[in-house]
């Protein structure tokens, strides 16, 4: 454990922010306050937080349809994420993108794409841009195990590999692509095993252990920053809720769900921090209360914000 205390506490707070934010989004969805659909990140917090804790403000991430957690971990403001999800003018995309398309270029969030796997070549392109502009930035590219069956996975990672681009490919393997279990659509057990096809390192991390994710990502990020090319990092994790909206996820065996819930990344990290005396129970509780309040503030901000004017639909097609 090489991390300083403050950093670990900050990571814990980010995980709490994501969890409470997502549970609140779920609640608002039930109250018909969220247009469209939602894909919640609850249960996978250790991945986004463990990876992004290694990134600088100017580093990039690309995100997915299940992207709220990535954005919050990279430093997005809860207020503006919530406002976007609720379709408000004050949202990150002025209501043009919604839950599946949040971006904040000022802090390197290159945006979430809702086409599965489409962000992989875009992340490689950001890596190429870094190379050509001669900076020491890196890109973390998030995607699910389902995306690893897309052609873009092969094309994008291959290109990043041959050119040694500074990209960390982060596969969040939550076992199910919608209702399709990984074993039904992949003949290998680990997505990371596919790295051998590109001549790059493939590593598997416990995606419900934020310190394990942090350590694996640290090595890959340092390698990328030194100009030694990409890594394919697979984080084994599990989503607490269904794929989207009110999906009850009946395709998942009850025992499996229970097993994974026992390995909840936030419960585990809290226990670790308390055991290490990094936090006391009281401090952890207090932090959680602060986070709950911050999420409530975000909801208030979003609900108090107006919708865009209808005619704004015509703006931003071209520059």
């Amino acid at each position: 454990m090489t991390l300083e205390k403050g950093k670990m506490i900050e990571m814990y707070r980010k995980m709490l922010e994501i969890r409470h934010f997502e549970e609140k989004v779920y609640e608002l969805y039930g109250q018909n306050l969220v247009p469209g659909t939602i894909h919640l990140y609850a249960g996978e917090e250790a991945v986004a937080v463990g990876v992004c804790a290694n990134l600088r403000r100017e580093d990039y991430i690309t995100s997915t349809h299940r992207g709220h957690g990535h954005c919050i971990a990279k430093g997005a403001q809860l207020n503006r994420v919530m406002a976007e999800i609720l379709g408000r003018k004050t949202g990150y995309c002025s209501g043009k993108g919604g839950s599946m398309h949040i971006a904040d270029f000022s802090i390197g969030i290159l945006g979430a794409t809702a086409v599965v796997g489409a962000g992989i070549p875009i992340a490689a392109g950001a890596g190429l841009s870094i190379r050509l502009r001669k900076t020491d930035q890196v890109v973390a590219c998030f995607f699910g195990e389902g995306a690893s069956n897309q052609g873009t996975f092969h094309e994008g990672i291959n290109m990043a590999a041959i050119w040694k681009l500074p990209v960390l490919f982060v596969c969040e393997n939550n076992l199910y692509a919608m209702g399709t279990r990984q074993s039904r659509v992949m003949a290998v057990e680990n997505v990371a095993d596919r790295a051998v096809a590109y001549g790059i390192p493939g590593v598997v991390a416990d995606g419900n252990d934020v310190m394990a994710v942090y350590e694996a990502a640290r090595e890959a990020v340092e390698k990328a920053r030194r100009g030694n090319g990409p890594t394919l990092m697979e984080c084994k994790t599990y989503r607490h809720r269904g794929h989207s909206r009110f999906d009850p996820a009946t395709y998942r065996p009850k025992e499996e769900v229970e097993q994974w819930l026992k390995r909840d990344p936030i419960t585990r990290f809290r226990a670790t921090l308390i055991k290490m005396k990094t936090l006391t129970e009281e401090e952890a509780d207090k932090m959680e209360q602060e986070v709950v309040a911050a999420v409530e503030d975000a909801v208030k901000f979003a609900l108090d914000s107006s919708y865009p004017e209808p005619e704004e639909a015509l703006e931003h097609v071209y520059i």
Binding site: G95, P121, G125, R131, H154, V317
Partner: protein
């Protein structure tokens, strides 16, 4: 004025923009020093600017466009080449769902200064996977601009403008045009997007034509002038934005219109132009709108078959005579 080929005009535009702006770079299959582009457009660029800025890629059309898009939203100005326009189908998600939509989806936070070059067109007997004209696919995607230059002058000026534009620009060439020569000034110039060019003045009938069909239409107009029919040939030069005013003005003058494009007739470029005329100039028409286009088939291989489906001077002349008489 000196005359150079369309190929050299493209090359010169790329070279000048790469010299002017170090964020401009080229990527695509075999665009580098070993092959120099399938049609020779990038010859010498790798030697001058290096392999980093003139980048050979794997055969991965989707990633070529995805990588170019990722670079474009992080400060670069990529010019991506797709070897044959038909292969754009492989990159369609990255073009139509990513490059075209990122700016809009993200509420205008970013620009996507990306040029995607590709050749369309038949006439060299390479059958259905290397000969199509698919401009209309992209006209249906808001967020993309579309250039269809027909001459060396236009191709150079439009490519320079496209590279400097902050939107994704689809830059469609025609493989029979690469060796066509025309006057191109030595000095710097650009051609704006969205401004049509009247390639020949006339009084009796307007032909709207694009890409290689401009040349066939000019040849037809020359022949028709010998028969006493004065034809105006208008080249839109860009399809998005489309210079509707120049089209409407020409129709106001002549009262008759023939639209000549190489793409399939149904849902094609000609259909959109006909719709513009129907909406904005129908009162000036003395005859129905006439279209000369590919008859909704894949492009066949054998020379007589291919010749049959591609519009030629005789079909253009026939169409003009129909609207005149």
């Amino acid at each position: 004025m000196r005359e150079i080929t369309y190929r050299d005009a493209l090359h010169d535009a790329l070279r000048e923009e790469m010299l002017r702006d170090e964020t401009v770079f080229v990527l695509g299959e075999d665009v580098g020093r070993y092959w120099k582009g399938a049609f020779g457009v990038t010859k010498g660029l790798a030697e001058e600017f290096g392999d980093e800025r003139v980048r050979d890629t794997p055969i991965s059309e989707s990633a070529i466009i995805g990588v170019a898009t990722g670079a474009a939203i992080t400060g670069m100005r990529p010019v991506a080449e797709i070897m044959f326009g038909d292969l754009s189908a492989l990159a369609m998600d990255q073009i139509a769902n990513q490059a075209a939509k990122l700016r809009y989806m993200f509420g205008g936070q970013i620009k996507v200064p990306l040029v995607i070059r590709m050749p369309f067109g038949a006439g060299v007997n390479i059958a259905a996977h290397h000969s199509q004209s698919l401009e209309a696919w992209f006209m249906h995607v808001p967020g993309l601009k579309i250039a269809v230059p027909s001459t060396p002058y236009d191709v150079k000026g439009l490519l320079k403008t496209a590279i400097r534009d902050d939107n994704p620009v689809m830059f469609f060439e025609h493989k029979l045009l690469y060796s066509v020569k025309g006057p191109v000034p030595e000095e710097e110039y650009t051609v704006p997007l969205g401004v049509a060019d009247v390639k020949r003045d006339g009084e009796d009938v307007t032909i709207i034509a694009t890409l290689y069909m401009v040349h066939k239409s000019l040849a037809a107009a020359e022949e028709l002038s010998k028969q006493g029919i004065s034809v105006e040939v208008v080249d839109p030069r860009t399809l998005v934005p489309l210079d509707k005013q120049t089209i409407v003005n020409s129709v106001k003058k002549t009262g008759r219109i023939v639209i000549v494009t190489e793409d399939c007739r149904t849902g094609g470029v000609s259909a959109e132009i006909a719709a513009v005329v129907a909406e904005e100039a129908v009162d000036y028409l003395d005859a129905p709108v006439k279209r000369v286009a590919e008859p909704d088939t894949p492009i066949p291989f054998s020379p007589p078959l291919e010749k049959f489906v591609i519009p030629d001077e005789n079909r253009i002349i026939g169409a003009v005579k129909e609207v005149v008489h």
